[in-house]
């Protein structure tokens, strides 16, 4: 009889007592949904464990070509805040569409960056691959701090403190990149990649970019492969005696391998372009991605 009473008491206690995790999470749970892996990583650096950060794109996925799935809309519906790269990196502004449909606030991380303009058919487009300069990544961090602080002003100082530490790391990355690429003679700093994603990197570190595909792998104006671009890429390789060209993790390597064969150069390695690496790989953070890219470039071109 005593055992029965004790068992009943224990069972009542189990069901009545609140689950500490869900009770806490219901009050404090906040979710940021980001478009790209890079934006998600930068967001995590700022918010720590105070928010959950989820990305729509998986490592290796191409933001230019991505098509929204029903699960994406369900995820965004749960978000407190959305973040995008912006400037049409997300093909046909799919992240903006998701956020607008769900009536969620949206942070455009590229806002405030000094743009590189591309002109095509009398239309001016901003090159959206702004994160390839650590200084621009700092602007992303500022925008993220502003976005989360607006919704959670109580913890603004905490977000700013994390951001300051991370920005110091971005500065160290910038100085390190300058030092690493200094071993490549300026005349040899020609970066040939699958698509025209590295202009901001080239501007920051004294490279010239040549790519057979434009700023987008999709069919937007200025994007895609054209015969003229392909010819220009091959001519650049031959004219400047480029030692190696590069495939990208999020773009089909077939074209660049064909160009390498046509021009008689080797493929120097794989670069992270529109996406970071999978979890557990060397390029699974923004800083890791930049580090590995620079090491690959320097090894191939010096």
């Amino acid at each position: 009889m005593l055992r029965v009473i004790l068992f009943l008491l224990a069972a009542v206690g189990f069901f009545v007592s609140p689950d500490p995790v869900s009770a806490q999470s219901k009050d404090n749970y906040r979710l940021i949904v980001c478009s790209t892996t890079q934006v998600a990583d930068l967001a995590r650096q700022v918010v720590g464990s105070r928010w959950e950060v989820q990305g729509i794109l998986a490592p290796g996925q191409d933001p230019h070509l991505y098509e929204i799935k029903p699960g994406d809309a369900r995820l965004v519906a749960q978000a407190d805040l959305c973040m995008e790269n912006g400037w049409h990196l997300e093909g046909k502004d799919w992240m903006k569409t998701l956020a607008t449909n769900a009536a969620k606030p949206l942070v455009t991380c590229a806002a405030g960056v000094k743009p590189l303009e591309l002109e095509q058919n009398d239309e001016k487009i901003f090159d959206p691959h702004t994160w390839f300069s650590p200084k621009n990544a700092t602007i992303y961090v500022r925008n993220i701090v502003a976005g989360v602080s607006e919704l959670d002003p109580q913890h603004r100082a905490e977000y700013e403190a994390r951001a300051e530490l991370y920005i110091n790391q971005l500065r160290a990355l910038h100085v390190w990149i300058q030092k690493q690429v200094s071993v490549i003679p300026p005349s040899k700093r020609i970066l040939v990649t699958s698509h025209d994603a590295f202009n901001y990197f080239c501007r920051a570190y004294g490279f010239t970019s040549a790519a057979p595909a434009g700023w987008s792998t999709g069919d937007e104006i200025g994007g895609g492969v054209t015969p003229e671009r392909r010819r220009r890429a091959v001519d650049s390789i031959r004219k400047f005696g480029v030692k190696a060209i590069f495939v990208e993790t999020s773009v089909n390597p077939k074209l660049i391998r064909q160009i390498a064969s046509d021009a008689g150069v080797e493929v120097g390695g794989q670069l992270y372009s529109d996406s970071m690496g999978a979890a557990g790989t060397a390029g699974d953070t923004y800083i890791g991605m930049m580090r590995e890219n620079v090491l690959t470039i320097v090894e191939a071109l010096q």
Partner: protein
């Protein structure tokens, strides 16, 4: 017998600790001596001379080109470009203490080449006369940033006319 001895030792140890704690609690609270802060006499100004062009910091939450702080407060803050050779003069600096005073300085070079170091000269003047001078150097590729500690005598030295 042994259990009794062990029990006696336990009672003795815990009893002693308890007695000591009760004694401590019974002592009167000591007066904490107030820290004496003496302000240094005179009118103070701070002067910084740049040996390089300064520009807003691209790697900061707030992109300043020059920042001087004392006692946690801004003495000078700029987000504009500043030419090399410019002297930033900050007059009427208040709350300078007799003894050690820390000035935080951050100046960001426009030329951020990784192999370049930059220097800033900081002078503290009392009643127009320099009383301290320091040169602050950056690490290669980094802003000039650091704390300059200046020792300020309490009183202005008095000069006696017959000493000359």
């Amino acid at each position: 017998m042994r259990p009794l001895i062990a029990l006696a030792i336990v009672v003795l140890v815990f009893g002693s600790v308890e007695a000591y704690m009760l004694f401590q609690d019974s002592l009167p609270v000591a007066d904490v001596a107030e820290s004496v802060v003496e302000h240094a006499g005179g009118k103070f100004s701070v002067e910084l001379t740049l040996t390089f062009d300064a520009a807003p910091d691209g790697f900061a939450l707030e992109p300043v080109s020059a920042l001087v702080q004392f006692d946690g407060k801004d003495l000078f803050r700029s987000a504009e470009r500043i030419a090399a050779g410019t002297s930033i003069v900050i007059d009427n600096v208040k709350d300078i203490l007799a003894g050690k005073n820390d000035f935080y300085v951050k100046i960001v070079a426009a030329d951020e080449r990784f192999d370049l170091q930059h220097a800033v000269r900081l002078r503290v003047l009392r009643n127009g006369a320099p009383i301290a001078e320091h040169t602050l150097w950056s690490d290669p590729g980094e802003p000039v940033e650091g704390v300059v500690r200046v020792d300020v005598p309490a009183h202005v030295p008095v000069s006696h006319p017959h000493e000359h």
